[in-house]
Point group: C2
Chain length 189, copies 2
DNA sequence: AATTCCACTTATCAAATGTTAAATTAATCT
DNA sequence: AGATTAATTTAACATTTGATAAGTGGAATT
């Protein structure tokens, strides 16, 4: 077996051939056109996604305005963890920003494999640990950096996003207005 | 056996009597005087803590100034996750703000139990999931709320902290200066 | 009680960001 | 290509927050 996603995942935490097989049978592929929601606001998180190609974001509405929580590039785990772990409907949506191909995995199917495939359980533990650590780092970033510093950091860490995502999404991700971001950009580039 | 901490943890995710016993043997108790660091900056996270009584915070230095990352009340899991999962020295410290009693668990000992005690592994998975979700919610809070809204939210969620932690720690936790926080307080109370 | 120290508040001014609206540029559609 | 729409930039002004310093009050020390 040589599924691109599984090869990638195996590097994070090893899988037995049987576990590979079991996980493989859960992975579905689909193509999503630009701007479409992969998951809508109000749905409970029951599917995990990995991008094969394209670009995605998680967003929600705060006081009527669209806020981007994060951007996701290929091979990143995309999930609305607060809904997945809480079992409650999410107030967030997942949207692709370009025509994209995604791999999806049903959480129900996945969790059902945990008992018999401990290596799969541990793999996803690792994936969520990583996501957790990234979230912690994002707090540090939001808590004591200026808007400009946050922009520079994003340019460094997800430079593709700057090129491919609309300005308004980047601005809300950084916690500032579109106008403010435009000013930062104008300073020097 | 009836260890207060274990009784609390069992409610989050069940434990077999053997697992309870095994976990029990790992828990150590100690008293820490006010203002003392439980873990210093530069140490790699090798111990998990739960407060039995008192109040704690995680802090670090950014550009020479002291930044509080979070406050912890009794029974909360206290860990520097980015160091634990990354295996690298943490640039953060854990400090108690009052004379406190803590329970500590060696991560090495804990992880050694995972193979034989799957329920223990799952329990700690749950604990980290919870911490992860809280971190996500904190980002939402930092990203699009004003300083005053963040203050009101803290007053609602950790009201004890407002009464017992010094102003400067609260201010840096909210991502603002002490002076700014004092102004918010003065507005109306 | 007087002194010192520390936490908090208040005042003043500067810098950063938000708000609104207009102007410009880019993208899309026919 | 031309027309239409959306995305981005620029400008002007209001508001928030930061930085610095001075002032107030309370707690600890002597």
């Amino acid at each position: 077996m040589s599924h691109v996603l599984i090869s990638y995942l195996k590097k994070i935490s090893g899988l037995s051939p049987e576990s590979e097989e079991a996980l493989f049978s859960l992975i579905e592929s689909q193509s999503i056109p630009k701007n479409q929601d992969l998951q809508h606001i109000g749905q409970t998180c029951k599917t995990l996604y990995f991008l094969k190609s394209g670009l995605a974001r998680i967003y929600y509405f705060h006081d009527g305005s669209d806020v981007t929580e994060g951007f996701y590039e290929p091979f990143c785990l995309i999930a609305r963890a607060e809904s997945l772990f809480g079992g409650l409907p999410s107030k967030k949506a997942i949207q692709v920003l370009e025509d994209s191909e995604v791999w999806s995995i049903s959480t129900q199917g996945l969790f059902a494999l945990y008992d018999a495939h401990r290596d799969i359980e541990r793999l996803f533990m690792r994936l969520f640990e990583r996501a957790y650590v990234q979230t912690i780092q994002r707090i540090e970033n939001l808590q004591f950096h200026t808007a400009e510093e946050r922009y520079r950091l994003l340019a460094h860490e997800q430079s593709e996003v700057l090129r491919r995502a609309p300005l308004k999404f980047i601005a809300s991700y950084l916690g500032i207005t579109q106008v403010s971001l435009s000013r930062i950009r104008a300073k020097k580039d």
